[in-house]
Symmetry: C2
Subunit: 453 residues, 2 copies
Amino acid sequence: MYKLSACCSMACGISLHPKMVLASLRIRKQGNGHRTNVPRNVNLEKLQNNYLFPEISKREVQHMDKYPNAKVISLGIGDTTEPIPEKISLSMANYARALSTADGYRGYGAEQGNQALRKAIAETFYKDVVIKDTEVFVSDGSQCDISRLQLLLGSKVTIAVQDPSFPAYIDSSVIIGQAGDFQDKTGKYQNIEYMPCGPQNNFFPDLATTPRTDIIFFCSPNNPTGHAATRKQLQQLVEFARDNGSIIIFDSAYAAYITDDSPKSIFEIPGAKEVAIEISSFSKFAGFTGVRLGWTVVPEELLFSSGFPVINDFNRIVCTCFNGASNIAQAGGLACLSSEGFQAIRSVIDYYKENANILVDTFASLGLNVYGGVNAPYVWVHFPGSKSWSVFSEILEKTHIITVPGSGFGPGGAEYIRISAFGQRDRIIEASWRLEKLFSKEKTLFNSVWNIE
Amino acid sequence: MYKLSACCSMACGISLHPKMVLASLRIRKQGNGHRTNVPRNVNLEKLQNNYLFPEISKREVQHMDKYPNAKVISLGIGDTTEPIPEKISLSMANYARALSTADGYRGYGAEQGNQALRKAIAETFYKDVVIKDTEVFVSDGSQCDISRLQLLLGSKVTIAVQDPSFPAYIDSSVIIGQAGDFQDKTGKYQNIEYMPCGPQNNFFPDLATTPRTDIIFFCSPNNPTGHAATRKQLQQLVEFARDNGSIIIFDSAYAAYITDDSPKSIFEIPGAKEVAIEISSFSKFAGFTGVRLGWTVVPEELLFSSGFPVINDFNRIVCTCFNGASNIAQAGGLACLSSEGFQAIRSVIDYYKENANILVDTFASLGLNVYGGVNAPYVWVHFPGSKSWSVFSEILEKTHIITVPGSGFGPGGAEYIRISAFGQRDRIIEASWRLEKLFSKEKTLFNSVWNIE
C-alpha cells in the first residue's frame, strides 16, 4: 500500500497515518469536573466544526478498512513530495552544524528576518517593481502571516474573499471577530462578502456588483481553482481598491507556477503599492512545507485612513507576536535564491507542472471541463449538477484515489473537485490510468450516478 | 570592540548592529499620497510606541558615537551566547541533509508537532504529573504561543499580570482588545490588573487584595525578577484560581534554571490541570533562541464555563493560525531530550548559572540588594529611590555596560535594573570588575547621583 498523506486542517497536510490524525483531533467530551468561570470565545463558537481534511481522513480510514489491500493514491492535500535540491539542504545542514561553534553560534535574529534574506527576496521577486528590503518581513509561512495580518486589522474591518478560496482567510476572519454567524442555508458567514469566481466570469469577480469592503483577500494563482488572474483583471482589481479605499491582501504563494504572462506579483500593477499587501511562501516554491518559511511585503506607501503607515503597525505585530523564522530555515531560503539554488528549484517546479499537464490531459480527454493546471499545481474539474462530496466518494470507491471536494473551499466549489499535482510521477500516471479506465468503462453509469443527487 | 547585541522589541534580541535595527524600525512619516479608507485598529493605537529595547539600542549607538573605542559589554537582552551541543546540531544537520533524499524528504508535519517530540516533552518534563502527549502542542516559541492564546481567549476576558513582568503578556492583551487606554500617570493600561511582586511580598502577589480576573499570567522563574515561586506560593495561586474560576497561563520558560525545590511546572500542584495552561520553550533551555522551538500544554481537564474543553479550541487555533514548527528545529528538540543531549545541555545551563553567581556576588559585595540569579539567569538589583533609566545611564556612561532598566517591565520595576547572565565568561568577569571598580571608587558620588532624580 502506498504511504498515505492526511491533513489536520483545511490548510495543510501531515504525513501521519489518518487514524493518528483523527485520534489527536477528536473532540473531547465535555467534562464533569471543575469548570472555570471563563466564557468560551464567541468567535470560536461561530467557527464550523467540520474541517474539510479531517473528514477526508475519516473517509480514507473507512475506505482502507473496507479495502485493506488497496493502493490508495492521494491527490488531495497540496503537499510537496520531491526532495529539496542538495545545494539548499546543504546550506541548512552547514548552518545547523555551525551552531555548535563559537563563531557560528547565533541567538535571536531580527523578528523581521535576516537582513540578507530580506534583500535577496526583494531583489529576486521584486526587482522591477522596486520593493525595499525593509518592506519585506520574513515569516514561518503564509498561513501564519494571514493570522498576524488579522491581528493587525482587528475585528472592525469588513472583508471580501473569492468564492471558492483558501479557507484560512475566512476562518481567521471569524476568529478575530469580523464575521457574523454561519448560515447553513447558504454555506456562508454573515458580514463576509463572497465574490463568485468561476468559468462564467473567467474566475474573476464581477466588480460592478461587488460591495465595498475594507479588505479584499485575493489569491492568484488561485487555490483551489488554479486560475492566475490576468494583468487586465488585476488592473481592474487595483482600480477597484483605489476607488473604494480598500486594502488588497494578495496571496502569491503559487506565483512560481505561472507559465504565461500573468503577473507574479500585485506590485506589477501601477498604483498597487498604495493599496496592497502581498503574502508569499517558500512552501510550494521550494518544497519548504515542513521547513516553514514565507514572507509578507507591506509597502511604505500603504496608509490607513488617518495617513498612518500600515507598515509601522505590522512591524509592531511581528515584534510582539512573532520572534522570527528559524535561522536554519532562513539559511535555506537564502540558498534557494542563489543562482544555482534557484535553477535547481525550477526543475522541481517543472516536474510538478508536468504532473499537472498529465492530469489536465486526462480529465480533458474524458470530455470534462478542466481548469487550472497551467499556472498552478492544482487542477479544478467541473461536474455540472453534481455534489462534490458525491464525486469524491465515487472516485475513491472506484479508483482508490483521494481528491478534495470543492465545497470545502466555499459554496462556489459545490460542483467541483480539486486535484493536487504534487506527487511522484509514477503515482500521477497510475492515477491517470485508473481515472481513464473508470470513466471510459463507466461513462454512462458515472453520468447517471453523479447527476442524481 | 566587542560584538554588539541589540534587540528590536521588548521580547527578544538580535545580533545586528544597533544602527541597522534603528533604521529598520524607524517610524515612517505619515505619507501624502493615496490613503485607503481603512481605519487603523484602535487596539494598536493604544499600544505605547516606546519599546524598551530600541530605546536601549538608540542609547547604545549614542554611547558608541561618544566613545568609539569603548569595549561595550551587553548584559541587557536575555540572548543565549554559548554553542549548541554537537549531538543536537548534528541531528538537525542530518535531518536537513536527508531532505534531499527520497526517503528523508518530509512535507507538512502535524500542526500540533511531531508525535515523537510531543511524547518526549511529556515524558521528560511531565512524567510525574502525567501529561499526555496529545496535551502538548509544539510551537515556534513561547512569545508566539502567547499571541495564539490571546486569539483563543478573545477580547472579552479580563487579565492580571505580575508587576514587573515580561512585556508580551500586556502587549498582546492590548492588541487583542482586552485593555483600556494607557495611563501616563500610573504607567498602566486600564482594565489590566497589575499584581505587585517585590521583596516586600517575597515576589508573590497579595492574593487577598487581588481582584478576580478571567486570566492570570504568571511567570516562574520570573522574567525579570529571577524569583522562582515556592511550592506554597503556587498552591495559593492554584487555590485562588480555583476559587475564582480563573485560568492561569503559567510561563515556565526558565524552569531549567531552578536550583532549589521550587516547582518546575504548575502541574506539580494538585488541581492545577483544571485551571492552568503552561507555556515553555527550548530557547533558554537549549540555546534555541534563533532556532525557534517551544511548547504549550493544555490539559483536557481545563474547561470553559460552559464545560467546553479549552484544548479543542486551542487545537483549532493551532490548525488555523499556525502550521507547525520547522521540522528541522523539531529534530533538534528531540535530540535535546535524549539522555546524551540532555546532559550536554545541563552543562551549558550550569555555565550561565555560574555567570549569574558571579554577578550576584558582585552586586552583593557592593552592599546592594540583589534578587534572582539563583533559580534564573537574571539578576534583579534594587536601587532604592532611584529611577531605573538614570541607573542604566550611569552604568553605561561609567562602565560601558548595557543593562535593562526595570521600568521597561512595568511600574513595579521603577527602582531596579535587570542584568542578564547570558554571556561569555570573560565578559561577565570583565563586567564584574568594571562594576566593582566604579562602585568602590565612586560610591559617594554614585549614591548622590542616583538619589537626586
